[in-house]
C-alpha cells in the first residue's frame, strides 16, 4: 500500500496547488476545525504509528507526554538529519512532497500546543532545504502557516535549520544542542525533551517520515492506519535500497513485508545476478543479516526476533564478492569519524576497533583480535553515553557472528582472501 508515496506519480505534487488539488491540507483543516488537540493525539495513538527514525517509540504517546500547561512554550523539531548510512528516504519525502511534511507538522503542533517548529535538516541537503523553505513560504502566504491558520486562532511558524555535517546530530538531544548553537553532543536524560527540550521547553522530536504520516491518519482515522501492516508495527515503511541491488531507490511497503520480496521484487535482485551475502536492514547501526534471514518480515518485532532491528529501514545489500571485513571496517570508520567524543567508550573504542579491523584486512592482524573486537564492541555497547556507541558495535558483532571464518581466514592467510575489488567495484567493473 502506498500512503506517503501515493502521490508520487502525480506530476508536480511538490507544487502547493497540485498538492491542494489532490486533497492536500484537508487533514489540517479537519484537525483544526473538527478535532480537539487531544482528539488528534488520540487518533495518532490509535493508529499505532511509531517513530520512523529508528527507535520506534509510539508517536501518540510521545505527543501525550507534552505538558498541557498553556503558559509553557512548546516546540516541535522535525528530525531531517537523515545521516544513517544507507538511508535516503527523508530526502525524497522532502523533495518530492514538501507540503505533506508541512501539513503533518502543523497538525502535530496543533495537537501539542506549539506555535513554533523547526526542521533540522542535515547541512549537505542544500537543495532539499531550499525546497522546504520555498514550500514553507508558499504555505504561509496561503494561510496554512503563520497567524490565525485557516481562520482559527492557531498560529505556527516553521523554520528550516541547517546542520553542518555531524551524524550525531540525528540523535535527538544532540540535535537540540546543535539547534541551540552548542556543540552537537548528546544531553543527559532526564530531563527528557518532552519536559525540557529545546530552549528548556517541552519539545517533540519526530522524524520526517513519522510526521508525513500524520495527515493521512487524521484524514482516514487511526483505525484505518492500524489496519495496515502488522498488529504492533502499523502502517507502511519507506525502505531505502542501496548497495548491490539492481534497482536501488526508495520503496514504500506495508510493515511486515518479507525482506525477500523487498530485495528481489522491489529492488530487482542482486546486482549482476550474484548471490546475496549479507544485508543491513536498518542503516548501518543495526546488526547485519544473511541469506538465512530473507523471509523475515520488515517490521519492528520480526527484525528484533531475527537478531537485528528495523532501524531506519535503510538496506545496504552486499553480494557474494564482498569482503565482510572490509565492509565492517568501512562502517567502523564511519562511527569513529562520527563519534562526538563526549564519552570514553565510544571515543576510544570506535577508533580502536578501526585499528584492529584495518590490521586484519591488511594481513597484520592476530587471531586474538577477533575475540578482542567482540570484547571491545560489547564494552562499548550499553556503556556509552548515547546510542551511537551501541550502533558502532553492531556491524562488528554481527559480522563476526555470521562470518567469523572469514575473519579467521584473513588472519591465517595474512590478508584479504578476496580477489581484486573484494566486492567494492564500480558498477560493471
Amino acid at each position: 500500500m502506498r500512503i506517503l508515496f501515493k502521490h508520487l506519480d502525480v506530476p508536480d505534487i511538490d507544487d502547493m496547488d497540485v498538492y491542494i488539488r489532490e486533497g492536500g491540507y484537508k487533514a489540517l483543516e479537519k484537525a483544526l476545525k473538527e478535532m480537539s488537540p487531544d482528539g488528534v493525539i488520540q487518533a495518532v495513538t490509535k493508529s499505532g504509528l511509531r517513530g520512523r527514525g529508528g527507535a520506534g517509540f509510539p508517536t501518540g504517546k510521545k505527543w501525550a507526554f507534552i505538558p498541557k500547561d498553556p503558559s509553557l512554550k512548546k516546540y516541535l523539531c522535525c528530525n531531517a538529519d537523515e545521516s544513517e548510512p544507507g538511508t535516503f528516504k527523508d530526502r525524497e519525502l522532502i523533495v518530492r512532497n514538501p507540503h505533506q511534511l508541512i501539513e503533518g507538522m502543523a497538525i502535530c503542533c496543533y495537537a501539542i500546543g506549539s506555535e513554533r517548529a523547526f526542521i533540522y535538516i542535515r547541512g549537505e541537503y542544500i537543495e532539499p532545504a531550499r525546497k522546504m523553505e520555498q514550500a514553507i513560504a508558499k504555505a504561509s502566504n496561503r494561510g496554512f502557516l503563520g497567524e490565525r491558520i485557516l481562520g482559527t486562532d492557531f498560529n505556527l511558524q516553521i523554520q528550516v535549520y541547517r546542520g553542518a555535517g555531524a551524524y550525531i546530530c540525528g540523535e535527538e538531544s544532540a540535535l537540540l544542542n546543535s539547534l541551540e548553537g552548542i556543540r552537537g553532543e548528546p544531553r543527559l536524560r532526564p530531563p527528557f525533551p518532552a519536559i525540557k527540550g529545546l530552549y528548556e521547553s517541552p519539545t517533540v522530536i519526530n522524524n520526517v517520515e513519522t510526521l508525513a504520516n500524520v495527515p493521512h491518519i487524521v484524514l482516514n482515522g487511526g483505525e484505518w492506519f492500524a489496519s495496515i501492516g502488522t498488529e504492533k508495527s502499523t502502517g507502511t515503511k519507506v525502505v531505502s535500497m542501496s548497495g548491490h541491488v539492481n534497482n536501488p531507490g526508495n520503496y514504500e511497503v506495508d510493515m511486515g513485508t518479507p525482506v525477500r520480496e523487498i530485495i528481489f521484487e522491489h529492488a530487482g535482485g542482486i546486482l549482476g545476478g550474484k548471490r546475496l551475502k549479507a544485508y543491513v536492514p536498518g542503516g548501518s547501526s543495526v546488526p547485519m543479516l544473511t541469506e538465512k534471514h530473507l523471509d523475515v518480515g520488515l517490521d519492528f518485532e520480526s527484525m528484533l526476533a531475527a537478531g537485528s532491528m528495523l532501524g531506519s529501514a535503510g538496506f545496504m545489500v552486499m553480494n557474494e564478492d564482498t569482503c565482510i571485513v572490509r565492509a565492517t571496517l568501512n562502517m567502523a570508520r564511519f562511527y569513529a569519524h562520527e563519534s562526538c567524543g563526549k564519552c570514553t567508550p565510544c571515543r576510544e573504542g570506535t577508533s580502536w576497533m578501526v585499528e584492529m579491523l584495518e590490521s586484519i584486512e591488511e594481513g597484520t592482524g592476530k587471531m586474538g583480535y577477533i575475540d578482542r573486537l567482540v570484547d571491545i564492541a560489547n564494552n562499548i555497547n550499553g556503556r556509552s553515553f548515547c546510542a551511537l556507541g551501541d550502533a558502532s558495535a553492531m556491524p562488528v558483532l554481527s559480522s563476526i557472528e555470521h562470518f567469523r571464518d572469514e575473519y579467521e581466514t584473513h588472519v591465517s592467510e595474512r590478508g584479504c582472501p578476496f580477489a581484486g575489488d573484494r566486492g567494492f567495484a564500480l558498477r560493471g567493473g
Binding site: 567508550p345 580502536w352 556503556r383
Partner: protein, 710 residues
Amino acid sequence: MADEVNLTIDGRQITVPKGTLVIEAAKKLGIEIPIFCYHPKMEPVGACRQCLVEIEGFPKPQVSCSTRVADGMVVRTNTPEVKQMWEIVLEFLLINHPLDCPVCDRGGECPLQDNTFRYGPPDSRFEHEKRHFEKPVALSSLVVLDRERCILCFRCVRFQREIADQPDIQVFNRGYGDYIGIFPGRPFDSNFSGNTIELCPVGALLSSVFRFRARPWEMTSTESICPNCGVGCNIRVNARNFRRVVRYLSRDNPEVDGGWLCDRGRFDSTFINDPERLTKPLVRRNGELREATWEEALEAAVDGMKAAGLRAAGIGSANRTNEQNYLFQKFMRLVIGTNNIDYTMEPMAPGGTDALVAGLTSGFFSGSIRDVASSDVIVSFGSDISQELPVLDLWIKKAVRKNGSKLIFAYPLRAELAKYASSFLPYSYGKEAGFAAGLAAAFVGKAPEQAGGLSGDEIESAAKILSEAKIVALLVSRSVIESAPDGMETYRALESLVGTLEARGARVQVMLLVDGANTQGGMDVGLLPGYYPGYRKIDESSCSEIAELWGAEPPPEPGLTGWDVVREARNGGVLALWVMGQDPARDLVRAKEIAEALGKLDFLVVQDYFLTETARMANVVLPSCTFAETKGTFTNTERRVQRINQAIYPMSDSDSDTDIILKAAFTAGAQFEYGRIESIFEEIARVVPQYGGLTFDSIGPFGRQWEVRR
C-alpha cells in the same frame, strides 16, 4: 519523610535526601566509586563512564554520577560485572594516554594513576599507535596543556563556564580528535584559570610555575592562608625540604573559598624563594647600605628611633599577622613611646576611621561571606570585587546565576560584576555620601532628583529591587567609609537604609570589605593612631585600662595617622619612622609625595623581604620572613581569624617580624617576653575584646569569626 529516600547499595540500607546522586549516597556509606568527570561542585555530565554501576530494573549499567536516587532503588558496585566495567573504561582511557608518568608533574597524585592502581587492567591490549598532539601548548603564561595526557573529562571547560563564567577554553574538534583549547590568539585569560590545573585528573593542565619543580611525594603540605587579599582563602603550602615553597593548593573552606583560588593568589608563591630576598640586616654607613650583624642593626634602629623622641612614628602592615602587628604597635607605644601608628599611609577623610570603628564595634558590620549565598538581593558598594577580592566574585556570580539573586552593583566604573547586576549604579567618585543618602531616601519614597552623580530614576530602580528583598547582603568597601569624603555621613545613611529595611521585615547582613589579607586584623589589634587595641578610643580611661593589661602605660594622646606622618615629615613634625612590611614609596597613587616625605626624615627603619623602594631609602633594613616561614593568624574581611603555619625554615638570616620586634624591644631594654607565637595570641585574646575566648587551638583549621552582638 517525603523528602527522604531509602535505597540499598551493595546490600546496605541508607536514607538520603531526595535528589541525591547515587555516587553521593554511596560515598555516605563509605563505598568508593571511581570517577573522572564528576565533581561535586559542578553539574554532572556522565561523560567519562568511569562510575558505571548496576541498578536493578535498568537494562543497562548506569552512571552513578548523574543518576539520582529513588525509593527502593537497589544499586550494586561490588559485582564482577561492575569491576569489569571499571576496568575497561580505564583500559579505554589508557590506550591513548602516554605512559610518561616518570616525567609528569601529576605522577604520584594522579587520579588516573590511582584509579588504575585500584581498578585498572593489569596491562593493555592496545597494540597500535597512540594518538599524537603537538605538546605542550601554553594556554596562557600560567597554564600549560599536554593534550596527549588529556582524558577529556571536561572539568576545566565546565569550571570556566559554570563557576568562573569566563569561558575562554572549550572542546575543539570532534570524537577521537577532540582536544581542549583556546580560540587562536586568545589566551586563557581568566582570574581563576589555576583551578583548572587542580581540577585536572591527569597531568594535562599544568602550572607553568610548578612544572618540573617537585615530585608530589617529596613535598610537605602546610595548612595556611593566602596572603593576597581580604578573602583569606584557605591554602596548602607545598614545600620541598622545608626550604622551598613550590606551590599553593586550595584547601576547601566551604564558608570562605568553596575550594577555589584566584590566580593572583595561587601563582604568587615564587616571591618566597626569590633570590633577591634580603638575607642580612643592612645599616647605612657613609651614605650606603651595608651588611651588618643583627646586633648592630637593631642597636642602630632603636637608637635612631629613640633619638626622635616624641617625633617618631610606625607603620604596620595589612599583610602581616595579627601577632606581628600587635607586637609592633605595642613596641611603638611602649618602647618608642608614640601612638603615631597606622596600618597605611593612605589619606583618610576626617572622621572616616571613627565611622569605620563605629560600624565595627556596634555590630553594624557583622555580615559574612556566606550571606551572599543565602540572600535574594546583594548590594555591593564601592569595591571592584572581581579584582580586589576575586573569590568573593565567585560567590556573587553563583548567587546571581544559580540562585537568581539580584545584584545592585554600585561602583564608579563598569567593572566586571556590572554585567551581573540588576541595577548598576556608577556613582561619581567622591560622592559616596550623596549616593548613600539618596538611596536611603529613595527607599522611603523620597527619591532625590539626583544623587551621587546618578539620576533619580537610577536610584529608584535600585530602591525598588531592595523593596522586594527579603534577605539582603550589603557589602560595603572600607574605602567608602574611611577614605572617601564624609564617611560618617555615608555610614549614617547606610545605617538608616538598613534600619528601614529591617523595619519592613527584611533581614540584612552588612559586611565590611577590606582588601588586605590582614587589614581587618591590623585594625583589630591596634594599628590605629586614635585607638588602642580592640578599638578603645584613646582617652584617660582607656589608657589606664591598657596600662593595667600591659603593666606599663602607653602614651595618653591620640597619634598621627599615616598620612599625617607624610605631611609632618615634610616640616619636621616627624623625624623617624619604622615601617614594617610595606612599601609606601611605591604607593600606587601618592608615591612621589610619600617618597619625598620619607626623604626628609632623619631616620627610617624598614622591616621587609626585599630591598624595596622604601627600604632603599632606609637607615636600617631588617630582613624579615614571609608568611610561609612563620606562624600566626590573619583576620579576613568577614572578621574570621585564621591560622597560618610555618611551612619552611626562614631564609638565611632573615627573621620573623615578631622575633625582630622582640629583639628590638630587648635591645631597647624593654621586657617583652613571649614563649611562643601562641603566647602572643593569648595576650591578644586578653587585650582585644573581640578576640576574647579565642585560642590558637580553638580557631581550628577553618578559622573562627569574631562577632559583636547588635
